[in-house]
């Protein structure tokens, strides 16, 4: 309860500060609208369905790309940690490409896929799959050697070992990696959507800029923050906490 009160306090202070600066009139109200104007713009965009439609399209895209990233990234991480060839030859490539900001893939994506959804999906996948693979590899490497030893003495081998011991043992770490991958994907998505007619939240930002509608730009930014936080808190945080509790990794019992 106290936590929430503190959070609300800081939020209120920030908005108050914003209001104050806006009122001082240093910048034109076109460039720095008051919080209320932004809120009104947000409500209007929700009411006329623009925001909901755009968010739906963005999230749909994100979901598809993210699922692809997970289905590629987790097995890739597993391979890197378990098979020497992958560790020696593939891992350096993955690490190298990981250093590339995801938006750098966009020109290539546009040339390969044209102005399509495919281009954005490609950028998002490239932005998150490597991070997920590395996090998976890390958590599989970090699995308690005691568990692999007991698996071996119990005669747990092959697929049963990989899917019944290694993956569950690494799961808390992998979920943390997936959370990270999700935030990478979210960034990559918006960066990609900004750059061409995409119908998503990114385009809504671009349109706002083109119309010089600062309240719209800010309202969309607020929406992006809210959606991002909600998915992170509600979805990943919950899964992570539940998982850690079941695995006995938290002090609370």
């Amino acid at each position: 309860m106290k936590h929430h009160a503190q959070k609300l306090l800081v939020l209120a202070l920030l908005i108050g500060l914003w209001e104050l600066v806006a009122r001082m009139g240093v910048w034109s109200p076109h460039l720095l609208p008051r919080p209320l104007t932004v809120a009104q713009s947000l409500v209007a965009m929700v009411a006329d369905g623009r925001l909901v439609g755009a968010a739906g399209r963005s999230l749909g895209r994100l979901l598809r790309a993210y699922l692809m990233s997970v289905t590629l990234g987790v097995p890739l991480g597993l391979l890197i940690s378990r098979i020497p060839f992958f560790r020696n030859a593939v891992k350096p490539v993955v690490m190298g490409l990981q250093a590339l900001p995801s938006i750098c893939w966009l020109p290539l994506a546009l040339l390969w896929f044209g102005l399509t959804d495919g281009a954005i999906l490609f950028v998002v996948v490239m932005g998150s799959v490597l991070g997920i693979a590395i996090a998976t590899e890390d958590s599989v490497n970090g699995v308690d050697p005691q568990l692999t030893r007991v698996a071996s003495t119990l005669g747990v081998r092959g697929l049963r070992f990989h899917f019944g011991v290694l993956l569950p043992a690494a799961l808390p770490g992998i979920v943390t990696g997936l959370k990270l991958g999700w935030s990478f994907a979210w960034r990559a998505l918006l960066a990609g959507e900004l750059l061409f007619v995409s119908g998503g939240l990114g385009q809504l930002l671009t349109v706002g800029r083109e119309l010089m509608d600062v309240p719209q730009v800010m309202a969309v930014m607020v929406a992006i923050v809210i959606i991002g936080t909600a998915v992170d808190r509600v979805l990943f945080q919950t899964v992570e906490v539940r998982l850690r509790r079941r695995w006995g990794l938290t002090a609370t019992t």
């Binding site: 050697p145 005691q146 568990l147 692999t148 030893r149 007991v150 698996a151 071996s152 003495t153 119990l154 005669g155 747990v156 081998r157 092959g158 049963r160 070992f161 019944g164 011991v165 569950p168 043992a169 799961l171 079941r246 695995w247 006995g248 019992t253």
Partner: protein
């Protein structure tokens, strides 16, 4: 008074006699076993040990005398650099379904319930699905964990975890149970309970057990045989049969007399190892190129 003490001492010696087990009658046969780790530590040197079927053998010795290494060699987790280990006269190649190793930690799979841990192990051993649950519950009862079938490991106390681990080990029904200081991390009270439990289970099932401990009392409480080991290099110095009836009581006078006797032997051994280590170590001329030790990785 003195005579009474002396008499007791004598009788304790009579109850504690050198073991002579020939390889031909042995379930487990270890012959001229050497093991040198990659860092040149000679963990085992020229170890001979024969274990009959149904024996409860305690490997006893100070820390670092190669008890775990010997046990892991029996389990097939360590490939020794010299000598041989055979079970039923067959040389072993890595871990096998006839043997099961238990560690100081319960090493339960934390995401599985007590029952889940057992059924998972049974599945790996090819037990048909229909039988797994019933068999799991039977062994959960046997270690007195009834009512905790659906509990997760982190919700159990240390002793209960160990009992769950024991149930899992017994459920897969290996011919040989190898235990590496399984009760070493438990408090004294719980440890006594676990010893009594293990003993009653052993009396009932007649399994062959090799049990590592550095606790003299524990070794004499449980073992039908106590194998004393000494460090640097790790070797067997005494092999004694314990002629005390089962079940044994921790406070039993004869038992405690024996504990003192073996404790003295052990100190003697350690003292000798200590003085020897003060002298320049005898250099072992390698007659053959030193073999790299191999440790079998997990599956």
């Amino acid at each position: 008074m003195l005579r009474a003490l002396l008499g007791r001492w004598r009788s304790s010696l009579r109850l504690l006699q050198p073991a002579h087990v020939g390889a031909e009658r042995a379930k487990i046969s270890v012959a001229r076993l050497d093991h040198e780790y990659a860092n040149k530590v000679v963990a085992l040197q020229n170890v001979d040990l024969n274990v009959r079927s149904g024996e409860f053998v305690c490997l006893l010795g100070p820390s670092g005398c190669g008890k775990s290494t010997l046990l892991y060699a029996l389990a097939g987790h360590v490939v020794p650099t010299g000598g041989s280990v055979s079970i039923d006269r067959q040389p072993i190649h890595g871990p096998g379904p006839d043997r099961l190793l238990m560690f100081q930690e319960a090493a339960l799979f934390p995401w599985l319930t007590v029952r889940g841990n057992i059924t998972f192990a049974l599945a790996a051993r090819g037990v048909p699905r229909a039988e797994r649950r019933e068999r799991a519950d039977t062994y959960i009862q046997r270690v007195h964990l009834g009512g905790f079938e659906d509990t997760l490991p982190h919700q159990l106390s240390g002793g209960m975890k160990m009992r769950a681990s024991l149930a899992r080990a017994l459920a897969v029904d290996p011919a040989v149970l190898l235990m590496d200081e399984p009760f070493g991390s438990l408090d004294a009270q719980t440890r006594i309970h676990m010893q009594e439990l293990l003993q009653s289970i052993w009396v009932r099932t007649g399994k062959t057990v090799v049990f590592v401990t550095h606790d003299v009392h524990e070794a004499l409480m449980l073992g039908t045989r106590v194998v004393l080991m000494a460090p640097r290099p790790g070797r067997v110095v005494r092999d004694l049969e314990v002629h005390l009836p089962m079940p044994r009581q921790p406070e039993d006078a004869a038992l405690n007399e024996m504990v003192r006797h073996v404790g003295r032997l052990l100190r003697e051994v350690e003292g000798r190892a200590h003085t020897r280590s003060l002298q320049p170590a005898p250099t072992r001329a390698p007659a053959q190129p030193v073999l790299r030790p191999q440790v079998i990785p997990g599956p």
